[in-house]
């Protein structure tokens, strides 16, 4: 496996005492797991907005795929940081569950469309209380 050196905050501080310029350059260039976590959070939020705001049920399902991708980015970023492949194994399971969810969900969409002639979730209110 590739050896990655992401460094810790303590190391950066100690370096900045000795040589402030190089420390600033290092902190700017370095990509830490926090960067990946923020990217993952932003992608997750875009998916949540898609689920909550859109009315087209196909686009809602695509937003769920975006959310699962955000989870996978987190798993793999920490797998790379801890130099441990188990995170990637779990990402494989997440992808398998996503495939199953897409197949069943799209089957449900087709069955609903056959009955109600719509893909607008606001019109799918048979079970609304």
């Amino acid at each position: 496996m590739r050896i990655r050196d992401w460094g810790s905050g303590i190391g950066v501080n100690r370096q900045s005492i000795r040589n402030p310029q190089s420390a600033i350059r290092n902190t700017r260039i370095m990509i830490t797991p926090t960067h990946y976590m923020l990217l993952s959070a932003a992608l997750f939020m875009i998916g949540v907005i898609g689920v909550l705001v859109r009315r087209n049920i196909i686009i809602i399902f695509m937003s769920i795929e975006l959310i699962l991708n955000a989870v996978n980015i987190n798993l793999i970023a920490y797998s790379a940081q801890l130099q441990n492949v188990i995170g990637q194994v779990f990402a494989v399971f997440v992808i398998a569950v996503a495939a199953a969810e897409a197949a069943v969900g799209l089957g449900i969409i087709l069955a609903l469309y056959r009955n109600k002639e719509t893909i607008n979730i606001d019109e799918m209110n048979l079970m609304r209380w």
Partner: protein, 170 residues
């Protein structure tokens, strides 16, 4: 330096395409933007040294799931755009506000955990194989054999369920 440039470029592309997926009116365009998004996520996996996951991402997501979505978009006749019907009870702003709360919460967790002292790196169990694909496969067929079999059963059940749901009459 190169890693930082690649990370920021790929991140910008991922977030931009994700925004296009949820804002485009045309559902077919939305599916195509989803393909581009999945490809850039695969590029991010390569950047993280997970080549096997990148290949799986392209094969399963960009190749399989997206084709399913395109089939459904074709089968569902979109004569009337679904967004034309407006529900006065729908609270779009509340949805965006709640999503922003989720982002704030996740950002706070990230900021808090980045201030903690770095945990000592736990090296993985000694494996008799080297290389990303070999290691993932070795773990899948030794320590995670039972979850792997359960996942295959789940896929089988999902396949049967999708056929039963989508078939006109059994």
């Amino acid at each position: 330096m190169g890693e930082a440039i690649a990370f920021y470029f790929i991140s910008a592309c991922i977030l931009g395409f994700a925004l296009l997926v949820i804002t485009t009116r045309d559902t077919v365009h939305s599916v195509l933007f989803l393909v581009a998004d999945f490809l850039f996520v695969a590029a991010l996996y390569v950047l993280l040294g997970a080549q096997f996951l990148a290949a799986i991402q392209i094969l399963v997501y960009a190749g399989g799931i997206v084709v399913l979505y395109l089939f459904v978009v074709m089968l569902v006749n979109l004569k009337r755009p679904p967004e034309a019907h407006s529900d006065p009870h729908r609270l779009t702003k509340v949805g965006i506000g709640m999503s922003a709360a989720v982002l704030l919460e996740l950002g706070a967790i990230a900021a808090y955990s980045s201030q903690l002292p770095a945990t000592p790196i736990a090296p993985g169990a000694a494996m008799p194989v080297t290389g990303n694909t070999e290691q993932v496969g070795w773990l899948l067929y030794t320590s995670y054999l039972i979850p792997f079999e359960i996942a295959s059963m789940l896929l089988l059940v999902a396949m049967i369920g999708a056929i039963v749901l989508a078939k006109r009459e059994l």
